[in-house]
């Protein structure tokens, strides 16, 4: 029982963590709260599903890749079409944040026109035979999702630390002006940040879709929860986003079982508010306090 709840929480936590990563990366590079991040996730989910419809023989990793590509493209398109222009005009931050809300409305309603308003079922990407894990029968997709999620996050860490683009993104996040003076192409790096953030969200979309359903409004509440998770970990911190996402998923799943399924979201929110009162910078505040 405990094992299967834990794996379930870990899987949903991976979904939150992947979206939260995007929130954090964008927040760190541009100070924008990107409210359309949940919709990027939804676009990834829908695109993955469409790929399966068109070619039912596709293996799960390819579907995941399709979702990632679609999410990445969607996020880059938003950046190029709107946010970049807004930043260049030097409009107040609140305007850009509101524009991301507009973008989110656009995506939700666009998706409803394309894919309809019915929840759409994902085919079983990861098989149906339960896996025995420490005496508990665990649905295989939960294990696959947890594994793929952790793998992606590890991959992102390597990318940020060891590639030129990754290092440039870190530099821009710390000090855009200094980075530009060192020869970093700011425009391209910003677009790359949005692209990577979108890819993570797109992967989360395929995972979430295969856990439950895909539908046009799926990104709204999930995106919010991921934003909360990113704050729980500490906005702007990659490790914080991963920790926050995993923790939030576990809290939610455990409180659905042990507290009340109607109030499962409230538990996470209450913990968040309490945590922020003592650690105004989120979990990363625990070891960053000295600085």
């Amino acid at each position: 029982m405990l094992t299967s709840i834990f794996v379930g929480g870990l899987a949903i936590g991976c979904v939150y963590a992947l979206i939260a990563l995007g929130f954090s990366m964008i927040m760190r590079a541009t100070s924008i709260i990107h409210f359309a991040q949940g919709e990027v996730m939804m676009i990834g989910s829908m695109s993955g599903l469409t790929a399966v419809w068109l070619a039912p023989f596709l293996p799960a990793p390819v579907v995941l890749l399709v979702g990632m590509t679609a999410g990445g493209l969607a996020a880059v398109a938003m950046e190029l079409a709107a946010y970049r222009t807004l930043r260049r005009r030097g409009v107040p931050l609140m305007n850009i944040i509101t524009a991301t809300v507009g973008m989110s409305i656009l995506c939700i309603n666009g998706a409803r026109l394309i894919w309809g308003s019915e929840p759409l079922r994902y085919p079983d990407l990861f098989g149906v035979e339960p896996v025995l894990l420490g005496g508990a029968r665990v649905p295989p997709q939960l294990l696959w999702i947890a594994a793929a999620g952790l793998l992606l996050m590890a991959g992102l860490q390597l990318f940020l630390k060891h590639t030129r683009t990754g290092i440039a993104m870190q530099a821009v996040a710390q000090d855009p002006d200094a980075a530009q003076l060192m020869g970093v192409n700011l425009t391209r790096t910003m677009a790359a940040t949005f692209g990577i953030a979108g890819m993570m969200a797109g992967a989360a979309g395929v995972m979430l879709g295969s856990l439950f359903f895909s539908f046009f409004e799926m990104g709204f509440i999930t995106g919010l929860k991921a934003f909360v998770a990113a704050t729980l970990g500490g906005l702007g911190s990659i490790v914080g986003a991963i920790l926050g996402g995993l923790l939030f998923g576990l809290i939610e799943t455990f409180s659905a079982v042990y507290v009340s399924s109607a109030y499962k979201d409230a538990v996470g929110m209450l913990l968040l508010i309490l945590l922020l009162l003592f650690l105004p910078q989120g979990l990363v505040g625990l070891w960053r306090r000295g600085r």
């Binding site: 609140m94 850009i96 996470g268």
Partner: protein
Amino acid sequence: MNASRRDWTIAFAGIGFAALLPFLAPDGFVMHLMTSVAIAAMLALGLQMLLGVSGQLSIGQAAFFGLGAYGAALMTKEAGLPFLLALPLAGVIGGIASLAMVPITRLRGPYLAVATLGFSIMVYLVLKNEEWATGGSYGLIGIPRPELFGFRLRDPMLWYWFCAAVAALTYVGMLLLQTSRFGRALHAVRQNEDAARASGLRVTLLKSQCFVISAVVSGMAGALFAHHLRYLNPNDFTFWKSIEILIMVVIGGVGSLAGAVLGAAVVVVLPELLRVVGDYRMLVFGAMLVAVMLVGEGGLAGIIGGLWRRAAALLRRPRPALRSAAE
């Protein structure tokens, strides 16, 4: 920084227009829509106080709105209190709820936003799940018609005037507040919190006071809303409502009270006007939102202000020419 003559002119022109509106369009649906605008305007003014004046971002205003609405509805429906008493009490409920949130006003920027969001999600869940009090997702029905001194406001026009009057009073109150010593202190806090603290302002106290005022106004708006529709559903108080209120303030122009009212009107009326494009309605709305953000820094208030200055400059230009002709 006293309220300039311009601010008062705009205020009274707006109030005059709102008062005369029923004569221009004596139509049931228009009255319903305009009443909704008056209620939305109060919500937007409440957030403008918070965001535009003290610089605190809240994306959980729907919580105070919802608590006020359900509180007022239960007071008139179950306890039989007169509406005129329930209205201020709904404000008190919003205020008390916000007192619980006062410790979080020391958070900054996105952290404050997330905390208000968390609070509003909790309130939504309570409204949805405590069926014994709120009717749960079926909603709360049978809210009595508003009554003033034993006189039932059955006529939509009278009810509109009442809501518009409450909104107008809120507007004037905020205008006075904004230019008072308290308002100037808040401006200082928004511009530079550290400098304000160094000049001896009690920043946290000021910010929490502002938070409470905003919640009181939202709670009263809730009371009006409950007696306007006379049916409440938790889905009217989701996070989406908070975002709508934020859109009103930003689209109208952060920092401008007139802008908040204008933004409220746009956010309420525009989706109705866009019904002509059918399924594409919200798609167009989203696109317009992004477009307005691209065009104007100060929102609609900024755009209109700019046009006004340009028009004034055009009118002024011929003068030197005339003078030289006379010479």
